[in-house]
């Protein structure tokens, strides 16, 4: 299964990249995607996740072609 993982703002700085294409049949949830990409850092407590540009949760199931995004609390406006 191939999915696109994106990181934004301070979270992108912390993990050292903004986007990664991952392909692994062992990835079932957004949490799995994080662990695959950032194995040396637990998910920060205030991190948010979106799947295909909709807010989701870390245990949501991901599927082929999904875009999973991790980011800190928003601060616009």
């Amino acid at each position: 299964m191939t999915i696109t993982v994106r990181f934004f703002a301070s979270l992108a700085d912390r993990v050292g990249r903004r986007e990664e294409l991952i392909s692994n049949d062992g990835i079932h949830t957004a949490r799995d995607a994080w662990m695959h990409c950032v194995s040396d850092m637990p998910i920060p407590g205030n991190a948010l996740v979106a799947i295909n540009r909709e807010y989701s949760d870390f245990d949501a199931v991901v599927k082929e072609g999904d875009e999973v995004a991790f980011f800190p609390p928003v601060t616009g406006g």
Binding site: F8, A9, P73, V74, T75
Partner: protein, 150 residues
């Protein structure tokens, strides 16, 4: 309805006038406007510059959803939401929310709902440049004046 994320400077007041000229004269009796502007101070530190990042695609989709929802809930005639991204300096406008309706109550309420949604849900992030040259991410927005969501 106009919803845009802008990469260059804009004049919110000119945008309000421009949009209002596109509406049918006499169709609205109230216009509520919110303009957010960059300050030169945050958490006790002087801020000289700011970079606004966003999640392209998700931002526009969510702002469109909330604008349509508010329009349906409050008998709103029209909505404008403009938000800057990129590098800005103190005094620059960050966001414009304009709402047109027949009466003031709907306009005030809808405008506030959109602003509070935008500040708590829309995927924008601010990074500040302080006077000593250091950069820092803004970790949270200030609380709204009152709870208006839901």
């Amino acid at each position: 309805m106009r919803i845009e994320v802008l990469e260059s400077a804009f004049d919110p007041w000119q945008e309000v006038v421009r949009h209002e000229l596109s509406l049918s004269p006499g169709s609205f009796g109230a216009t509520a406007v919110f303009v957010g502007t960059m300050r030169d101070m945050n958490e006790g530190d002087t801020v000289t510059r700011m970079t606004l990042e966003h999640y392209a695609g998700m931002t526009e989709e969510h702002l469109s959803q909330v604008a349509h929802q508010v329009q349906a809930d409050h008998e709103i005639l029209d909505v404008v939401i403009l938000h800057r991204v990129g590098d800005i300096t103190p005094g620059d406008p960050i966001v414009l929310v304009g709402v047109w309706s027949e009466h003031r109550a709907e306009a005030f309420e809808a405008c506030e709902k959109i602003v509070e949604y935008l500040k708590s849900q829309a995927p924008f992030w601010k990074k500040e440049r302080l006077s000593d040259g250091a950069d820092r991410w803004v970790e949270h927005n200030t609380a709204g004046s009152r709870q208006v969501l839901n």
